[in-house]
Subunit: 434 residues, 2 copies
Amino acid sequence: MENKLSTQPYKGARDFYPEDMATRNYIFNVWKKVCESFCFEEYDFPILEPFEIFSAKSGEELVNQQIFSFEDKAGRKLAIRPELTPGTVRMIAQKFKEIQKPIKWFMIGNNWRFEKPQLGRGREFFQLEVNTFGVSGVLADLEIISIIVEIMKDFGADEKMFEVCISDRRLIFALLNDALGLNEETSNKARKIMDKRQKLSKDEFSELLKEIDLEDNKIEIIEQFMDSNLDNLEKVLDKNVLKENKGYETIKNLFSYLDNSGLLKYCRFDPSIIRGFDYSDGLVYEVFDKNPNNKRSMFGGERFDKLINIFGDFELPATGFAMGDITLLEFLKGWNLLPKMDSKTEFLVTVWPSDESKYLTASLKTANKLRSAGKNAEIWLETDSKLDKQLKYADKKQIPYCLILGEKELDSGTVTIKDMKANEQKTMSLNDLI
Amino acid sequence: MENKLSTQPYKGARDFYPEDMATRNYIFNVWKKVCESFCFEEYDFPILEPFEIFSAKSGEELVNQQIFSFEDKAGRKLAIRPELTPGTVRMIAQKFKEIQKPIKWFMIGNNWRFEKPQLGRGREFFQLEVNTFGVSGVLADLEIISIIVEIMKDFGADEKMFEVCISDRRLIFALLNDALGLNEETSNKARKIMDKRQKLSKDEFSELLKEIDLEDNKIEIIEQFMDSNLDNLEKVLDKNVLKENKGYETIKNLFSYLDNSGLLKYCRFDPSIIRGFDYSDGLVYEVFDKNPNNKRSMFGGERFDKLINIFGDFELPATGFAMGDITLLEFLKGWNLLPKMDSKTEFLVTVWPSDESKYLTASLKTANKLRSAGKNAEIWLETDSKLDKQLKYADKKQIPYCLILGEKELDSGTVTIKDMKANEQKTMSLNDLI
């Protein structure tokens, strides 16, 4: 006997059987519907990209440890995309002059990262990527946050279930560079440690900051900063530092707009939000699942006005977010928000068991007429199966109606329709049925 | 100045700007709608697969020259899928016992092949894959061919534009093994040469067959066979050979069903159809573009009852086809069947240029109300742009209606709607508008 191959998918990647695919389609359809209601346009680009567009700015961990990369047969170094933002910006740089601004774009695409598979993480995941390019004002960020809230509401979530936590990278600079006087290198290291605080104890957090030579009083100020809110931030950071700070101004404007638009109940200023991407350079935000059993950041977004400069000397403000399907699915399951997916099949057209071809012909024609009328109709694919077997199949597949075309029906030009749930049947003309 | 990165996508792969994406969505939506009307269920699986599932049966050229393969960081040999059939069969083998038969499945997915980019071919292409598993009878093949015809008709194509050419691999065996008495090796080589005949002159074709030591009289019979039709096939192949041949019986049954179902005008028996996959083992068919400027095979399908045996000793008849997006797009363009894609944006809600926040607030609320009513409404993202600039933007983006909310409208609780095409405007209440 020859060796048989494994039937498992590649580790950390998912097969989507029809029931899983129905759920995925449900999620993608909500994403798409909300983005289109805000008049964002859909686009896409290849999963294989030149390696350099990620090595430039995506951040060390992603590029060195997680990216799937290889050389093609012509020796070109390629990466399977680990995120969607650099490719998006590449497309815009390519047609920078032709594309009408502002640019409001969304895409749904898969990414690959070499990670240890665990709950809420896989090596392949899908993301919705939503960005506005060409608007420097905070109205663009307001719109992006409105889209996030609308998507969550469309899934049935409310303010008890999720929260958009918002800060600004320029406040971090105000803290680390202006207030604490750290040099660029130490400041970058401190920022990366701050980004991990959620996963650390208070002691572990202090310990890591001590390792980069921060004194106790500076660590104390960092802690105070991360715990502050919009009212007491001025007690932590010097008023003069804040007065000059564009980040502080942006945050204040944004929160006044959020209040005006009725979105304040979904949002909170949270200076502990940092984000890992090197290209974040202004507003940053993360959306949290408030489920007490599993409180965690689900996804986020940011300003990235300068990322496009890896492709050329363009001026193009940019802001947006990406949300992944795996964490979202955990969220929806955790709050019991996932609707039951019904069978899309409306009718099973049975085939009367007989050697006479007229029965098959009548069933084929009936199925075609139903489809022409916009109905989803399945036909039985054998001419010698007992009717009982066909009805049992419909029952197992939860098909709501079966049509029966036997001698009586053919003679009178009718069909018998059996309601599988009510277990009732009626005979009528096909036109009446449609 | 630092070096700037290229903005081009990887060679042979496509960026989908919103206008291209609209076309792609149009194609995918037709595919999906027709498959669902036949009650086929959608599924999906990862683009990365263990390399072996392709090396087993996909055919030499595909595996040795065209596949993108590499090792992951754990030393596992992976392939980016070059076709969708082996992964589909892997999924079915994985849950063989649990899945209710017959299985009617479709998916839309991308594949990668390392090819020289040319018209109608790219390194990345999308395919619709449609299969029925668990039905050995020809009714399953009839249904698959019905789906092909319905899809083509839904795109607006008719019998003057395309043709489904059908044969059976078992007829090729009857010719090469039974009638000509070739051994297995020579027979396989001859079959592969026959598969290329379309691209060769008569002389080149004979020459290649001579190279594998076929005598002139045998080459003559092969030529006659490939030119034969359902009426004169019995003159080329011995009646006794044909009488025992399952392929001949299948073809005759299928054509009688096609006739009954009104599909005969789209179909033709054509014994020159061979197909390249090693796993084809019964009916084979290819769909041709009949465009005199570009007559060629667009896509095809086959029986592949034994492919599942690379995963285990399963009994599972299988039949189906895959159609690619690039060749289809060429077809639709060639026959001028591609509809114009309209803007999905219905309204641009302008923002009256003013320092007073009431104008922005009113516009934001109006946009939200339109969206709640199921309309796609875009809002202008600046508070200091002249109205003229906003209207020009709408004009360039072909947005049909602009809403204006100035002092007069705010005072009277109305909106002014401007029909951009007719260049007319009217003032009314928002509720009346909705």
